[in-house]
């Protein structure tokens, strides 16, 4: 799976790098570094709802948008990671 953290200007101003740092730590903490690749994206298109994180399959499939998480910040990222992203791994 690939997790893309938006680093477009709007998200950057809202703390993309904090989210990226946390996300890196979480991949380690939950021992999923092998399964999840962390990437950055220049604008995922939700500038008013940043920071936006997209979790999707490694190979993009047309019609499957993947999961978008909005308003992510360094305080809620772990919560969202456990509730929303970890379950996707088992599918």
């Amino acid at each position: 799976m690939i997790i893309k953290v938006c680093v477009g200007s709007s998200c950057h101003l809202k703390g993309s790098y904090d989210v990226i740092d946390q996300m890196k730590a979480l991949l380690k903490k939950y021992d999923v570094e092998e399964q999840i690749e962390l990437q950055a994206s220049f604008c995922l298109g939700f500038c008013s709802k940043g920071v936006t994180v997209k979790a999707g399959p490694a190979v993009e499939v047309t019609g499957q948008e993947g999961l978008f998480l909005h308003n992510v910040n360094k305080d809620n990222v772990e919560d969202l990671f456990v509730k929303e992203i970890i379950p996707l791994l088992t599918i």
Binding site: V7, G8, S9, Y17, E37, L38, Q39, F42, C47
Partner: protein, 477 residues
């Protein structure tokens, strides 16, 4: 509000605007026929001998706006019929000469080229070396230097005259800096526009659904569009059909990081971000090429970042620079950038699309650090590398900012002769740096202030996060 510095820029802008409008809305086929008559309606000529010549010249400008002559590899071309065959007499004694007794002109001439004949100074062209001392010595200011503005602007002596007294560019010597483009008072030297390619890219993306088109803007942009804040300019660019706007200054942060490492390794280093400067070194100091950083320019670095995170992306660079139009075609950039627009072309594009610049929303444009943003002005890289090496405890950096080609030539000659005391050489072809680039809309001292302010408004005060991003994107965790 006056947009441009010169009328030549304004005419170029009007031509571009017409071409862009037609490319987007239809009617491009008639461009050659119709645009000249729109811009030079007649019946009286206003700038040339007759309205037909004016229109013929506009036709050539249309050609340049549509990509120029494919057979000429240079991005800078002379419009033959627009060249006004300026006098090239050198030192010229005007009728203001009073044949005075002191004749300072004679005294000051180092080559004894001046004599007084019939109470007038006469200059022997065979002896005259055009040093200009007589022009300053004459108390009446009666001696003037007649040089062609294009020739004077060209610091690599690439412009000469043909037998018809028309300017000719020697492509072997030309470094595509564009100085002559801005300086020719008749607008006879012009940069090729790639705007039709850009429109094709945007159209082909089908609203960024087939692939996404990113605009990468040079930091100098902040001093250019006085109709709005930088955040509104970003909105306008997006409205042209780009998926998003990214600061080239982000790549500049990363360039700075690489250059600091490279300097540590090599101990003597010169910057690589100005393509005209690099060409200048290649053509005039081939033995110094080894010192030029292997780091790619901020434009290419930013484009690579984007394409690594979105492999099908297309990237258009928007900047103040004619030589970026040359750089993006170089093999070493690996096709990272798909096309290049100038600020002049951006302005024409925005206006051709009828975008109301008075009521634009603000779109955040904030990725890069202070240092990446001040790359735009001469001395910016020196400041960045000085602070960066200091913060990492590296010692021994002795940097110098070489501002403009003349200074680059002087300092590189010292380096070549082993007389240089510095070990880090920032080279920029345009005097003042990119904020004074040839294709800037305005060339005002205020530009430097604007860029400094823009730099200080960056969220990132250091390049740390940009470097983090670079590392993550290039080798995913």
């Amino acid at each position: 509000m006056r947009l441009f510095d010169t009328n030549v820029q304004y005419i170029k802008y009007r031509v571009l605007k017409e071409v862009i409008r037609r490319a987007c809305e239809g009617g491009l086929e008639e461009a050659y026929m119709e645009i000249p008559a729109i811009i030079s309606p007649g019946p009286k000529a206003t700038t040339r001998c007759c309205v037909y010549k004016e229109r013929a010249i506009i036709q050539e400008r249309v050609k340049m706006a549509m990509g120029g002559h494919a057979g000429n590899p240079n991005v800078i071309e002379v419009i033959d019929i627009a060249c006004d065959e300026c006098p090239i007499d050198g030192m010229y004694v005007t009728p203001a000469c009073r044949g005075c007794l002191v004749h300072n002109c004679m005294e000051v001439c180092p080559r004894n080229a001046i004599t007084i004949v019939d109470k007038k100074a006469v200059i022997d062209k065979e002896k005259c070396i055009e040093c200009g001392k007589c022009t300053q010595a004459c108390p009446y200011g009666a001696i003037i230097a007649q040089h062609r503005p294009c020739v004077q602007s060209c610091k690599v002596k690439a412009i000469s005259m043909n037998e018809d007294k028309k300017a000719v560019i020697d492509n072997e010597k030309c470094i595509s800096c564009g100085a002559c483009v801005y300086k020719c008072p008749f607008g006879a030297i012009v940069d090729k526009s790639l705007v039709l390619d850009v429109i094709k890219l945007l159209k082909g993306s089908e609203g960024n659904s087939r692939y996404k088109v990113y605009a990468v803007v040079a930091p100098a942009v902040v001093s250019q569009c006085h109709w709005g804040k930088i955040s509104q300019v970003a909105t306008a660019i997006k409205m042209l059909g780009f998926h998003n706007v990214v600061e080239a200054a982000l790549g500049a942060d990363i360039t700075l990081y690489h250059e600091a490492n490279e300097w540590k390794e090599k101990q003597i280093l010169s910057t690589s971000c100005c393509p005209s400067y690099v060409k200048f070194v290649e053509k005039n100091f081939p033995e110094l090429v080894t010192y030029i950083s292997h780091t790619v320019s901020p434009m290419v670095e930013t484009a690579r970042l984007i394409k690594r995170s979105d492999p099908s992306a297309k990237v258009v660079f928007i900047g103040p620079c004619s030589s970026k139009k040359m750089e993006y075609t170089l093999e070493k950039t690996g096709g990272a950038v798909d096309s290049v627009l100038s600020f002049e072309e951006l302005q024409a594009f925005v206006d051709a699309r009828g975008i109301d610049t008075t009521s634009l929303e603000e779109l955040a444009l904030n990725n890069a650090s202070y240092y990446g943003r001040i790359f735009a002005k001469s001395g910016g890289i020196v400041q960045g590398i000085t602070d960066l090496t200091a913060s990492t405890g590296l010692e021994g950096l002795r940097p110098i900012a070489m501002n403009g080609i003349s200074e680059c030539r002087m300092q590189l000659a010292r380096l070549k002769a082993g007389k240089a005391t510095e070990n880090f050489f920032e080279g920029m072809a345009c005097e003042g740096g990119c904020i004074n680039g040839a294709l800037c809309i305005t060339h005002s001292p205020r530009n430097s202030v604007d860029v400094e302010k823009y730099g200080s408004e960056a969220k990132e005060k250091t390049i740390d996060n940009s470097v983090k991003l670079f590392k993550m994107v290039s080798s995913p965790a």
